[in-house]
Symmetry: C2
Subunit: 233 residues, 2 copies
């Protein structure tokens, strides 16, 4: 998923990015390129490249005679996959997870509706395959295998919608689902009702029933939201 160590500047970002998104340097903090370069033991050129990347994510702003200032959270490019990963790895993971789940609840139903209209035969087949895979691994503590099919299912839906903006959320959704399985409380087998819903969505898409696909997906995402409310009311 991630691309660790793609150059020295990447190594710097791997620790500076998480530090900033975790609020270690509060908004308004001023950093100096030279000091950072010394601290990370890299040349100024490398440090400057790293700062440029942070700047393009709107995490910081670089101004002459003042330095590199951390921007308020509200201005960050929260859709940048890198930023999302950093935040999911940090302290406000729960908050981030909730935000993303709400986003899912808005996007996925509409995407499913579009998928019912636009999915190719191959995509329909892949969808049912994923759903069957979920069913097959829904009992007996096979959470890992279940997860693989679950992620694939949602990715296919988003891709099959035919909307590039939706498609690009595949990674995000996958990360949310993985996070739920690995870090949150999910020891037991998945909810059978949820599994059934996935199967029915696949059927609806195959049957080109957009309204039903949308409604069923809405039930899935609503379930995901409720799950969060139960964990952290």
């Amino acid at each position: 998923m991630s691309t660790p160590g793609r150059g020295l500047h990447g190594r710097v970002l791997d620790t500076l990015g998480p530090a900033i998104t975790a609020g270690e340097y509060p908004p308004g903090s001023v950093l100096r390129t030279d000091e950072l370069a010394q601290h990370f033991e890299v040349s100024r050129s490398v440090m400057r490249e790293a700062v440029r990347v942070l700047e393009s994510m709107h995490l910081v702003e670089s101004r002459r005679r003042v330095g590199v200032t951390v921007r308020p959270k509200a201005e960050w490019n929260v859709y940048d996959p890198q930023v999302i990963r950093w935040r999911l790895a940090g302290a406000d993971r729960p908050h981030q997870l909730r935000s993303l789940t709400v986003l899912r609840s808005a996007v996925e139903p509409v995407a499913a509706g579009l998928a019912a209209r636009n999915a190719t035969a191959d995509q329909c087949a892949e969808l049912t395959e994923c759903a069957l895979g979920m069913v097959a691994n829904s009992r007996g503590h096979r959470l890992d295998k279940y997860l693989v099919h679950d992620m694939a299912f949602h990715r296919v839906i988003l891709t099959a919608s035919g909307n590039e903006m939706f498609a690009r959320l595949g990674d995000v959704v996958a990360e949310v689902l993985a996070g739920r399985t690995h870090h949150e409380v999910m020891f037991e087998d998945p909810d059978p009702a949820a599994v059934t819903l996935h199967v029915r969505v696949a059927e609806a898409v195959r049957a080109r029933d957009a309204a039903r696909a949308e409604e069923l997906t809405r039930e899935i995402t609503t379930g995901a939201l409720q799950e969060l409310d139960i964990l952290a009311p």
Copy 2:
């Protein structure tokens, strides 16, 4: 909105970014840092910074011994405001506009529902103010003033939802609305029905009626979609 000329590397990006997103360099094309530096008449350090930014947007990939290769469109960070702006300014503007409008149709209704739950008194007031501003400028070719209130209205909804991911779409929606007014066919006064819907959304939010706010907003975004279908069926 944009930040023109924030350094030499920014100047380079202003022409190289649009060129890439416009497909001027098709996916797989190989660029060389040195050649680019010469072409733009900047030093290699500056060019490298520009490349790093493009890389963080997943527009290109830089590899040793190979060069800077343009990535396939499907991998671009299409949520990056900068990328969105570049694409809106380029050839696939219609396509981008459609994608964004579909995204709006998914997000805004849910955001409105949440706004009805979470909006502060101030935000409710601001919302009605915007709606009234729209009404006041809905007749007599006052499209510019109407647009200002329209953009503000949707921005307030997205912000008041309390979801940071939704809030960050304020700029995008504003740009879509502005685009529709300035570049697409919209000589006449706005549809009176749409104006009324905005007023009713404001009322619903004030009345804390989430379901109604969501449904009314869905009608607004559906209208926006139909508008596109009429223009380019």
